[in-house]
């Protein structure tokens, strides 16, 4: 059990913990024996080359991807015992923005707010600097603005766990700074963040997880 990166299961666990996760894409093993534990107020920064499984891991943490091996624990309880409760405590922003072109920016957020049981669309738009564009149909938004609209969903419903896949992609310097501030605020409020990024975000209390260490190819070499 002395494989690289294998941490013994945490006993006094609040927050999210993974034990010996593995991920298969097709026939290929992307990573294996991946473990970490994330306490309230902490950020987990996923790094690694393209194809090392950052997005796949985030989807596993969200409950969208299957766990091919290992366990995912929330406060010590496996999340698959109650997937609905797990969904209620996380917010996921993936590669795609899930923005509907025919709706305005505010309508996009209202649709998601009514699905998730949240509100405060105007505050969310203001946080991501989209206040002036609230009533513009989303098809007129630029790629970066659509990204910001996708990220604005994070602020609709207070949830402890944020899962972000390359959140800075396409954002300008001001929007990146705004996002950094929002992430820091979330951590201050004892939230948890797991994110994949190629841009250093210099978050307080963050741990880095290099997925290349868990790649079976690397371990064999």
């Amino acid at each position: 059990m002395s494989a690289p990166g294998f941490a013994p299961p945490t006993t006094s666990s609040t927050g999210l913990a993974a034990e010996a996760l593995a991920c298969l894409r097709g026939e290929r093993l992307v990573f294996e024996r991946l473990s970490f534990s994330l306490a309230p107020g902490e950020a987990l920064v996923l790094s690694g080359p393209n194809g090392s499984g950052k997005s796949s891991l985030l989807r596993q943490l969200a409950g969208l991807g299957p766990l091919h091996d290992g366990r995912l624990l929330w406060n010590g309880t496996p999340v698959d015992t109650d997937p609905e409760a797990h969904r209620a405590r996380l917010a996921y922003v993936g590669h795609q923005d899930a923005v509907k072109s025919v709706l305005t920016a505010r309508e996009n957020l209202t649709a998601w707010a009514s699905l998730g049981g949240g509100g405060g669309e105007d505050e969310a738009l203001a946080t991501m600097g989209l206040g002036a564009l609230a009533d513009v149909p989303a098809r007129f938004l630029s790629a970066g603005q659509r990204r910001r609209l996708g990220l604005a969903r994070l602020f609709l419903r207070p949830v402890p766990l944020w899962l972000l896949d390359e959140p800075t992609l396409g954002l300008d310097a001001a929007a990146q700074a705004g996002l950094k501030a929002a992430l820091a605020r979330h951590l201050e409020q004892r939230g948890m963040i797991a994110l994949a990024t190629h841009v250093p975000l210099s978050l307080a209390r963050s741990q880095e997880l290099d997925l290349a260490r868990f790649s079976p190819v690397r371990a064999a070499a």
Partner: protein, 221 residues
């Protein structure tokens, strides 16, 4: 139940903003059915005998035409991930999408049936039975179609695959949907056929959201 109405409202709003898609389904239904007299000749007796069957076959094809957009757009822009992650049961979410699909395709089809009844010399006494049969049968098309559309997600030429998957399942609806107006014309009771259609509806209502939700989870992996 709130997720049902949230998804229903969202999808109806999206359909309202791009009405061409629903109108195209109805347009196809009307044009395809009016082509038949050119093919088989305009004799009222011939048309009257096949009118009910024609209306049903065209309705099946029109429903198929609209199925590929039921989940495909959400799958492509990443909304499907968020729908699967929204708190609440995925099966209820699927029901909301099916209800919106029926309201934007099945219901307009039914409304245009009286027009086609005139074109095709449908006996007047058959019309109430045909409308009742369609009112019970078209929701079954949406429910079973949702399973096929969910299974075909991610496949190339998904529309063709959906047709292969669901057309055989539509056969009972077609048989009893045509039997009801024919019984009315022959001065027999249409009620038994309508009751069987109602049975098919309730069976599909219980089973297909469950199957479609499982297929959607697979597609998201």
């Amino acid at each position: 139940m709130s997720i049902f109405f949230a998804v229903l409202r969202r999808d109806l709003m999206l359909a309202l903003r791009s009405p061409a898609e629903s109108l195209m389904t109805v347009g196809f239904f009307v044009i395809a059915a009016t082509l038949v007299p050119f093919g088989v000749g305009p004799e009222p007796e011939t048309l009257a005998r096949i009118a009910a069957g024609l209306v049903w076959v065209m309705a099946l094809l029109a429903a198929l035409l609209s199925l590929d957009r039921l989940f495909q757009a959400d799958y492509e822009d990443g909304s499907l991930d968020l729908l699967l992650l929204s708190p609440g049961q995925t099966e209820i979410m699927v029901l909301g999408k099916v209800a919106a699909h029926w309201l934007t395709t099945g219901l307009p089809l039914i409304i245009s049936v009286p027009l086609l009844a005139v074109f095709l010399h449908l006996p007047l006494e058959a019309l109430p039975a045909l409308l009742a049969a369609m009112l019970l049968g078209t929701p079954v098309l949406s429910l079973l179609g949702a399973v096929g559309a969910a299974l075909a997600l991610g496949a190339r030429r998904g529309g063709a695959l959906t047709s292969l998957l669901v057309l055989p399942l539509f056969i009972p609806v077609l048989i009893f949907g045509v039997a009801a107006p024919e019984a009315a014309v022959a001065d027999l009771a249409a009620r038994p056929h309508l009751l069987i259609l109602a049975g098919l509806f309730f069976g599909a209502l219980v089973l297909s959201p469950w199957a479609a939700a499982a297929a959607l989870r697979l597609a998201a992996e």
